[in-house]
Amino acid sequence: MATAPRFWRENPSRYNLVGFKCNNCGNHYFPPRIICPLCRRKSVGKIEPVRLKGTGTIFSFTEVHEGMDEQNMQRPYIVAMVELDEGARITGQVIDCDARDLSIGTEVRATLRKLSEEGSSGVIHYGYKFIPLCNGPAASENE
């Protein structure tokens, strides 16, 4: 079981989609890293934290029925790999929709939601999930 600090440590990225732009190659990445995986030494001092917009398209998706602790995730649920507009890819749940209404290329936006709950301690973890754009305009919940 993950301890609370393990989650808090990643909060800026989990809550606000903070990734980085490598000012050597111009690529965006998520989550933050110390160096750019492509530019390596050349990226030292050129890593700029960037809050990603959270909008993008579904690159691939699945509906998960088995294999996750029930107390953490109510099954089934949808998981997608999303290609963000900045170019970085990210994995997360897609909510407020039916898997049948999704396809590769569906536009989505990130939103802050409850991710999971620690069984005994009751600590609730929050993070990003995705909502199809056709479900309405961007709400203020992510601001």
């Binding site: 995986p37 294999g67 998981v79």
Partner: protein, 388 residues
């Protein structure tokens, strides 16, 4: 660098073995391999043990020393090293043993692999397997291990037109092969309908697309090729060994329909061996999910990208096909005790090249390949074997 041969193999039954402990399994396979090589304990210079997660499956770490102890190898203080690379732990242990003998440091090395998975619940087992992926940025956000492979499958079907039926055909073929292997966990043939009607795990993957949780162990004994005839009637040489890494998280790879680590490890192994794909008669590949075998046969260069599903459907990967893939039944039917799997693959290839695979024997098998994958492709190990 010295040339290296396999002179002994041992494997336990694979399955839900409630009366077998981790140490009983590990020692069973090791003793069988040592017996097969007709060596004595005093001759063993070192041992490598592939194991993914004994700490979480049976709450026991330090399993290198454990296996050495219960194998009677601590009397001579034989060095024992545990090797971990998730699903590729066994293949990587084999590579460590190969390197140790090739370098000239050790003459006789035992390589084992073992996992005891069924002491925990199915969900717990699944979550342990998911720890091979990126915990913080994949698993904790809901992506299970099957879910990540489902993302690959969805994308492969989208980009290459691979069909749901073709994925089922991988399982059907491997169960057919497994029915011919007395050590396999599943020895019952199935048809497409069984796969397509089994419960959904992570769409489009169903229960029969997934390798089971298994208990089991396997071992091989290595020595310099020049000494191999003293121990083995039909020595089998390890002619190529390649390993490669890739990003831990699947989403950091540009093309998720290709496991680049497999391609690179395979290129490295073929270059070392001076062989090409056309030379390979039999291959054990990492079919932890049906889609994984489709990627494997493409990334290993047996078929063009996008044609792995069609090749399977057309029977080109069956026992009588262009290249016999997973004659043991693969992870799907032989079983997948994670740390043992890569070593079990080597046992199967050596068995085939010795010509002792009985009902599942590939005719005149001369060159074999084993591909072992960790995570969703963050580690790949490829070995090439040839009858000496």
């Amino acid at each position: 660098m010295r040339r290296v041969a396999v002179i002994g193999t041992g494997i336990t039954e694979f399955g839900e073995l409630w009366d077998s402990s981790f140490r009983k399994l590990g020692i069973g396979a090791g003793l069988a391999a040592v017996e097969d090589a007709k060596i004595s304990a005093e001759q063993i210079d070192a041992m490598y043990v592939g194991n993914m997660s004994a700490g979480r499956f049976i709450r026991q770490e330090h399993v290198g020393a454990l296996i050495a102890d219960y194998s009677g190898l601590v009397k001579d203080h034989v060095p024992a090293t545990r090797v971990e690379a998730a699903g590729a732990s066994g293949g990587l242990a084999l590579r460590q043993g190969f390197l140790a003998v090739a370098s000239g440091l050790h003459d006789i090395v035992v390589v084992g692999g073992a996992e005891k998975m069924t002491d925990v619940s199915d969900t717990e087992s699944s979550m342990i397997q998911s720890s091979a992926a990126d915990q913080e940025w994949e698993t904790e956000l809901g992506a299970t291990f099957a879910g990540l492979h489902a993302l690959i499958a969805t994308r492969h079907m989208h980009e290459h037109g691979t069909t749901r039926e073709q994925l089922a055909d991988v399982a059907v073929k491997n169960h057919k092969h497994g029915s011919l292997n007395p050590k396999a966990q599943f020895r019952r043939e199935i048809n497409r309908d069984v796969v397509l009607r089994s419960p959904i795990v992570a769409s489009p993957l169903r229960m029969f697309d997934c390798a089971p949780s298994s208990d089991g162990a396997a071992a091989v004994v290595l020595c310099p090729l020049e000494n191999a005839e003293k121990y083995a009637e039909v020595p089998v040489e390890i002619v190529g060994s390649g390993q490669a890494s890739d990003s831990l998280a699947l989403h950091n790879r540009k093309d998720i329909c290709t496991m680049s680590a497999t391609r690179v490890a395979s290129d490295r192994a073929f270059a070392m061996a001076g062989l090409s794909q056309d030379d390979v008669d039999v291959a054990e590949v990492h079919d932890n999910f049906t889609i994984s075998e489709v990627l494997a046969v493409e990334d290993l260069g047996f078929f063009a990208k996008g044609e792995g599903g069609k090749a399977t459907e057309d029977g080109r990967t069956s026992l009588e096909g262009d290249v016999a893939i997973n004659t043991s039944g693969g992870l799907k039917a032989r079983g997948d005790p994670i740390g043992a799997t890569g070593v079990a693959q080597a046992v199967e290839i050596v068995t085939q090249l010795r010509g002792t695979a009985e009902k599942r024997q590939v005719k005149d098998a001369d060159v074999g390949l084993a591909q072992n994958v960790g995570g969703t492709g963050a580690t790949a190990v490829v070995h090439l074997f040839r009858r000496a």
